[in-house]
């Protein structure tokens, strides 16, 4: 009996060892089969199973996605160990830096099917096409607006002031991102938010430090904000329009969150795909960029995120009229109502100010 038991456990051990070795060799094989894989550094919701599996089936490329919490993560991740990612999807305000830092290669638009149908406002943008080359393929766009709990406010807020109101002490959240400076600058009435002077930056910093005791938590990912809202830790925050409200309301917690655009305007952003320099998976990368301009790609990502498609022709057949209206399809004019992100003139100074705010008592 004892002998038998020992035999059994030896057998289990052996099986486990063999399984482990098999897994290791499979992993090693996938690592060597470079042509059939694609590593994307992107945002939550941009590589969900629903449409990625269609891409994998059609292209034979296995997708591995890693996620960032803010645009500042792209350079940090690429500087720490390039060669791990094939495609990155930074926002327009970070696109120039990727090019200047030498992290990305120019894109041959002829290899990206459907790229001609992208809104020219995006595909011909001065940061997308620079130095005579194309550096990015627009993917999706949207806005950053405010989100709040109507049941906790007597009247509907209409201004960024709600984030700085002592009445909401301990129930405010803000994105842990340099864009906190843009919001504060608009609140203070500055209209040059991407080119603030030293005095203006000092004022913004002072205002943000003054706001700190009112803040419950800075959120670092969409998932964290969803959790903060769902667990009733905070009642108001800035949020990626579409995503957080959808996720929180889907949890059916017995309350609702609602988005609104403050009178100081919401922010607009556009994320695009960039090709990491010297990627061994260029073929899969181009296949992916083409797929993301197809109906499956554009409708897939629009559905999983709540954001707006960049390719109206691709979504013509896969969205109903109501959704087209909600997602501003054929209404790229909406861009003009937003403060579209640009790379701040003095990006490092902005980062320094934001870090000083976070370090302050």
């Amino acid at each position: 009996m004892n002998e038998e038991k020992r035999g059994m456990s030896m057998k289990i051990l052996k099986t486990a060892l063999i399984a482990a070795m098999a897994t290791a060799s499979v992993l090693a094989q996938t690592a060597t089969a470079m042509s059939a894989e694609l590593n994307i550094l992107t945002w939550e919701g941009y590589a969900t199973e629903g449409f990625i599996s269609k891409f994998e089936a059609a292209s034979g490329c296995k997708v591995t996605a890693a996620y960032v919490g803010s645009n500042d993560d792209f350079a940090a991740k690429l500087a720490a160990g390039g060669g791990v990612y094939d495609i990155i999807t930074p926002s327009l305000d970070t696109v120039p830096m990727m090019r200047l830092a030498g992290f990305v290669a120019p894109i041959d638009t002829a290899k990206v099917e459907g790229s001609a149908d992208i809104y020219p406002e995006f595909s011909q943008n001065g940061d997308v096409v620079a130095e005579g080359s194309t550096w990015a393929v627009p993917l999706i766009w949207g806005s950053v607006s405010l989100i709040y709990r109507p049941d906790k406010f007597a009247s509907k807020p209409d201004s960024i002031a709600v984030l700085f109101d002592p009445a909401n002490k301990g129930k405010i959240s803000m994105w842990d991102d340099k864009s906190a400076l843009y919001w504060t600058a608009r609140y203070l009435g500055y209209d040059n938010v991407f080119d603030l002077t030293d005095e203006q930056l000092e004022a913004v910093k002072a205002k943000l430090i003054e706001q700190k005791p009112l803040i419950r938590k800075y959120w670092a990912s969409a998932g964290e904000l969803t959790e903060l809202m769902a667990n009733q830790e905070v009642f108001v925050s800035n949020a990626w329009t579409g995503l957080t409200s959808k996720d929180v309301n889907n949890l059916k917690k017995g309350f609702e969150v609602v988005e609104f655009t403050p009178k100081e305007k919401a922010e607009g952003w556009m994320d695009s795909m960039m090709l990491v320099k010297d990627t061994p998976n260029e073929e899969c990368a181009y296949k992916f960029m083409s797929f993301m301009q197809s109906p499956d790609g554009q409708c897939g990502i629009a559905e999983s995120t709540g954001y707006f498609p960049v390719n109206p022709k691709a979504v013509a057949g896969c969205m109903d009229e109501q959704m087209k209206k909600d997602r501003q399809v054929d209404n790229v004019e909406f861009v003009k109502s937003l403060v579209m992100w640009q790379q701040p003139k003095r990006l490092d100074k902005y980062l320094e100010v934001w870090n000083a705010v976070k370090a302050a008592p």
């Binding site: 993560d73 940090a76 200047l100 803040i215 419950r216 490092d348 870090n355 976070k358």
Partner: protein
């Protein structure tokens, strides 16, 4: 003894691995870190250089001193908390629990949480301390408070509680060992001489356990000083610690030279603390002869 040709292969076989380990994984990386601390940054890249600008920035900009002082404060509070909980616990295990089996079981139950992922344990405190969390449910259901309180989570208190919980085994382990090694006859002798239990504790047990107190405190302090998870999970807007600052400099801020200078400073602080601790240890040592 000098190395002769006959013993060299044996010597090399025995020590080349640890030597290579120390060289490749400690000496070289520290050398790189210290030298990058003198580099220059030209956003978004950085260049080899030899200048003290990064150190000047650390000492002139109050944000860095603020964070370092805050980190020292949190680490000190965590150490005190762990000692306040760990000492009575270790004392109870060694002197009060009579059955060896029970003592081992209790000791294991203190150590066993170390087998569970650190992240998971820290995250659990979020569930306990949150507005909709376990503690608030208890307080509301027992009628102690009428509405959930939000004072438990996302502040420095939550960070201290979480870190004390996580690091308390590192305090209990050395304390248990020193207390367990105190010869019982010394305590009996003290009692035979008519000294009361409190004075026996104060004059016999405490001096003999100082080595464990210092070892446990040093370990807890250094672990808490370098923590970056608690501020992210349970800390609030005023919770940034020095390790988070390092993370930011190597991450979002993309300023490796400044980050390296800061890391070098942290290394110096920890080395000074270790030096102090080893001095205290030597000074407090009691000869058991």
């Amino acid at each position: 003894m000098t190395l002769t040709r006959r013993t060299f292969p044996g010597f090399a076989a025995l020590f080349s691995m640890p030597f290579a380990w120390v060289l490749l994984l400690l000496v070289v990386p520290y050398g790189i870190m210290i030298s990058v601390g003198f580099w220059t940054r030209q956003f978004p890249l950085f260049y080899p250089d030899f200048q003290f600008g990064n150190y000047a920035q650390i000492f002139s900009d109050p944000q860095y001193t603020t964070v370092i002082l805050r980190t020292l404060k949190i680490a000190a509070l965590v150490t005190l908390g762990a000692l306040a909980l760990g000492f009575p616990l270790a004392y109870f295990l060694v002197f009060t629990v009579r059955s060896a089996a029970l003592r081992n079981l209790l000791y294991m139950s203190v150590v066993v949480p170390l087998w569970v992922s650190y992240l998971l344990r820290a995250y659990t405190w979020k569930i306990i301390l949150g507005t909709d969390g376990a503690l608030n449910s208890l307080l509301v259901s027992t009628g102690i408070v009428s509405a959930p309180l939000d004072i438990f989570l996302y502040n420095q208190t939550a960070m201290v509680i979480t870190l004390v919980y996580i690091f308390v085994p590192f305090m209990v382990m050395p304390l248990f060992t020193v207390l367990d090694n105190i010869p019982r006859r010394l305590i009996e002798a003290s009692e035979d001489l008519g000294v009361g239990p409190f004075m026996t504790f104060w004059k016999v047990i405490v001096p003999l356990s100082l080595g464990g107190v210092i070892a446990g405190s040093t370990m807890t302090f250094c672990l808490a000083f370098g923590d970056f998870v608690a501020p992210v999970l349970v800390g609030g807007p005023d919770g940034t610690m020095v390790a988070n600052l390092l993370q930011t400099q190597f991450g979002a801020a993309l300023n490796w030279p400044l980050g390296s200078a800061l890391a070098t400073l942290v290394l110096v602080i920890v080395l000074v603390l270790l030096q102090i601790s080893s001095r205290l240890d030597t000074a407090g040592r009691v000869e058991l002869t």
